[in-house]
């Protein structure tokens, strides 16, 4: 993966920069020794590492504003970082950058049940937002699988999803307002406790902009009352295509499950060996979960199972208790760990129209043969968000490159099938150079024009999202301006 050459003029100003940053931040919030900056050298895309020039850990919006203003004046690129759980390299530093970590900003500012909102500092973790309201029966709906660790700041940057977004939507559908600090230090309030922030939907474009438009320091989030209960049904099929048809039929029947998860044979076998959840020996497995009171759940599961029976399942197992539910979810929740135990893996998240599922799975199988790398598929089937896990050996020379080539081919396939490169992980550096597959230069120009407005000097996370050749002219001008 290519990254821009560090700007020597910026590197030469390190001492001056550290001095200025130290004037606006406490001593323990400015990290500039190489032994310590190395802690920020990568995010969850661990194949790529680069220690930043400096890392800062501000505690307030004012401190964030001061840091950004100084970096703006010094012409230093800034890479914002939530908890560093990005699978796409969204928080990967460059050697000439300042990492701005929001981890110390983790307070709940306001909880307001009458208006069903919570206002938090953006470094707060996803799960601890729910933690702040769950005693009162509420929760924050988006649930990325890294929710124990990932920060709201990163959720907003990547517009994170989760297993339950078929019913509750992704981050953008649950975000009502932000405090955004622009690269020049300007603080902007957008939206708040009311619906549909007025004017242009800047909130909509900030969410998912991968930290390239500004640093979000506070967010107003929608909270919901927890459902009375939830229970899944597990179903196994002898054919991926039949499982796909079953998903489509469930949706068409008017039942809207909170989650529909799909696993294919390689993944089922791996998780059985790892977790022993008692899954059936079959080609495709679905876990369909619904919510409501006990009677409502019984009714919905009965409708779903009636549809499933029409597709001749090899197994149909309805949960009747919390224990049975946990057992059904056990394998799915261990899937990543199970695959990781076999080997290193790369997790993709291309999204496809549900109708293209059988075709895409068949093609991925053929590619697996061609590349000689195993692949298992776990899948948010209701919304077409695939998660092929490609196994490779990081210690074997050339295997990573082979795996990346395989991954790129899978993502191109997703786009050809009518889908997209990434459903919830983001572009980062991982899919940056594939953007040409999905978008024309005019499409990319329109997106980059938004960054021009928010960050005219292209200092915020500049080498991400857009193919380097597409953004080069802007980045070169920005460096010349320094």
């Amino acid at each position: 993966m290519e990254m821009p050459v560090p700007n020597p003029a910026v590197l030469a100003r390190k001492a001056q920069l550290v001095k200025r940053l130290s004037k606006v931040l406490p001593a323990d919030a400015v990290i500039s020794e190489i032994t310590e900056t190395r802690a920020y050298e990568c995010d969850a895309l661990t194949a790529y590492k680069c220690a930043p020039m400096v890392a800062v850990l501000p505690s307030t919006t004012q401190e964030v504003s001061d840091v950004l203003r100084i970096c703006f004046e010094e012409g230093v690129p800034v890479v914002p970082r939530g908890s560093g759980t990005s699978l796409a390299g969204g928080a990967l530093p460059t050697a000439d950058c300042v990492i701005l970590g929001v981890a110390r900003m983790n307070e709940v500012i306001e909880t307001d049940y009458a208006n069903r909102i919570i206002r938090v500092q953006s470094g707060r973790t996803n799960l601890s937002v729910t933690g702040a309201v769950e005693e009162d029966g509420f929760f924050y709906a988006p649930d990325p699988s890294s929710q124990l660790a990932c920060a709201i700041a990163g959720n907003i940057a990547m517009n994170s999803g989760g297993a339950h977004c078929l019913k509750y939507g992704v981050t953008t559908n649950n975000l009502m307002g932000v405090t955004l600090v622009q690269m020049d230090g300007t603080v902007v309030e957008i939206g708040g406790g009311y619906l549909d922030a007025g004017g242009l939907d800047l909130l909509g474009v900030i969410c998912g902009s991968e930290g390239q438009l500004g640093v979000v320091t506070e967010a107003t989030l929608r909270i919901l009352h927890k459902p009375e209960g939830a229970r899944p049904v597990l179903m196994g099929f002898d054919d991926n295509e039949v499982a796909g048809e079953c998903v489509s039929d469930i949706i068409k029947a008017g039942v809207l499950p909170v989650a529909i998860e799909f696993m294919d044979r390689p993944c089922i076998e791996a998780t059985e060996a790892f977790a022993g959840a008692g899954y059936p020996d079959c080609e495709a497995l679905l876990i369909v979960e619904v919510e409501g009171s006990d009677a409502e759940i019984d009714d919905q599961l009965a409708r779903i199972m009636e549809i499933a029976r029409r597709h001749n399942p090899v197994e149909l197992r309805e949960s009747k208790s919390a224990e049975e539910s946990a057992r059904i979810w056990l394998g799915r929740k261990s899937a990543f760990g199970a695959m990781g135990q076999i080997n290193d893996y790369m997790c993709l998240d291309g999204t496809i129209p549900v109708s293209a599922l059988p075709f895409v799975l068949r093609r991925i199988g053929e590619m697996s043969e061609k590349y000689g790398l195993r692949v298992g598929n776990v899948f948010h089937a209701g919304d077409g968000n695939m998660h092929p896990l490609i196994l490779f050996d990081a210690n074997k020379p050339g295997d990573l490159e082979l795996c990346e080539a395989f991954g790129a081919e899978v993502l191109k396939l997703c786009v050809e099938a009518g889908g997209c490169l990434t459903g919830e992980h983001g572009v980062g550096i991982e899919k940056r150079d594939l953007m040409h597959v999905q978008y024309t230069m005019d499409d990319l120009e329109a997106q980059m024009a938004v960054k021009d407005v928010f960050d005219p000097h292209w200092l915020l996370n500049p080498a991400k999202v857009f193919p380097l050749d597409a953004s080069e002219a802007r980045r070169v001008v920005a460096i010349a301006a320094q």
Binding site: Y113, N173, E189, G193, D196, G208, K252, T351, T422, F454
Partner: protein, 371 residues
């Protein structure tokens, strides 16, 4: 009126424009600017509909009614319940899906499922330079690049002219029913609505009609609706006597709320104010004499009918939110502005984005100035 029949023709028209263009879909919502009328009505037709994937793609000029009919045939619907402005504004014409998205038009169910912008999956549009741009796609989850789909929704044609939209659709529930809580007090009503919306019973409508009461709507399968109605009746019993509205009566009531039928054919300006629900009671108490109002979205959306030329924005200034002048004569619109003025830092961003997408200021420019 210019009514291009293809995206390419539209792009050429915009590139060659010599003066301001008044961009519109069916022209029913009263938001287009002044200038040569440019209608997207020629770009119609459902291009793709996959009920099993809950997705529909249509030309921007497709009549909303055509889309709703196609969805109804598969027992699905546009869940965000777009308002039909013709009742309130007395306009004629055919509402289009492009107009719905360009104005981010959502109805009572917005409180539960999201706005038009939350259901938009992808767009194609022509910007102010005549450049054809696509963004998003037709899948439910998509974080590939910036989300210009949201930016286009609610841009009122000032950033580009939509040519095609891809949407998420949802199943139509088996039945609906409502509860009317007998109260005349806005504070009491908002508290009751908050109780309903803060329950696990999935309320999909929460309005207050001052001469009728606070109303909550439940939708779903028969048995489930019956169960949740009972549970809500118990939860809301302390707020006043409760009347049940069965399917037909419920539907009629919510259609009226959606279209603000209350103010149809009544004299005066109409304002639409978005605030935190708990701020609504104080605002409606402070309305000028002779005003009328109703609340939707649990109190978060205030519709006000007041004497012509009244500047309502001054009255909500202490509360966070925004007020849009939906119906007024041209001089009032020019004097007060249709849209809420923005704080300087935010306005700088908004103006910057507009200047990038429409450098010559030809697309609904007068609307943009009003913003």
């Amino acid at each position: 009126m210019m009514t291009p029949q293809s995206e390419a023709e539209l792009a050429a028209l915009i590139a060659d424009a010599r003066g301001p263009l008044a961009v519109q879909g069916g022209g029913t919502r009263g938001f287009s600017g002044t200038g040569d009328v440019l209608s997207a009505a020629g770009l119609g037709g459902v291009a793709l509909y996959e009920p099993g994937a809950l997705t529909l793609v249509a030309g921007a000029g497709t009549p909303v009614a055509e889309i709703e009919a196609a969805l109804a045939a598969e027992n699905q619907r546009l869940a965000f319940e777009p308002m039909d402005h013709r009742t309130l504004l007395g306009t004629t014409g055919t509402p289009t899906i492009g107009g719905v998205m360009a104005a981010n038009v959502s109805g009572p169910r917005r409180i539960a499922v999201g706005a038009a912008r939350d259901f938009a999956l992808g767009v194609r549009f022509v910007d102010g330079s005549g450049r054809i741009v696509k963004n998003g796609g037709r899948v439910m989850k998509n974080v590939t690049g910036y989300d210009l789909v949201k930016l286009m929704c609610g841009s009122f044609g000032t950033l580009g002219v939509l040519t095609e939209v891809a949407m998420k659709v949802l199943p139509r529930p088996e039945i609906e029913a409502s509860l009317v809580i007998d109260t005349r007090d806005a504070g009491q009503a908002v508290a009751a609505l908050a109780r309903g919306l803060g329950s696990p019973f999935e309320v999909t409508g929460a309005a207050f009609l001052p001469d009728r009461g606070a109303v909550v709507r439940i939708e779903g399968f028969d048995g489930s609706v019956a169960y949740r109605l009972g549970a809500l009746e118990a939860a809301l019993a302390g707020f006043g006597d409760i009347e049940r509205l069965e399917a037909e009566a419920s539907r009629t009531l919510w259609r009226g709320v959606r279209d603000v039928a209350r103010f149809a054919e009544r004299d005066g300006d109409v304002w639409r104010i978005s605030v935190k629900p708990s701020d609504a009671p104080a605002i409606v108490t402070a309305l000028p004499e002779e005003s009328d109002y109703m609340l939707d979205w649990g109190g978060g959306l205030i519709w006000v009918l007041c004497a012509k030329g009244t500047d309502l924005r001054a009255r909500i200034a202490p509360c966070a939110g925004h007020a849009t002048l939906i119906r007024a004569d041209a001089p009032t619109r020019a004097r007060l502005g249709v849209f809420q003025p923005e704080a300087p830092a935010l306005a700088a961003l908004t103006n910057g984005v507009r200047a990038r997408f429409d450098p010559r200021g030809v697309l609904n420019a007068t609307s943009a100035q009003a913003a």
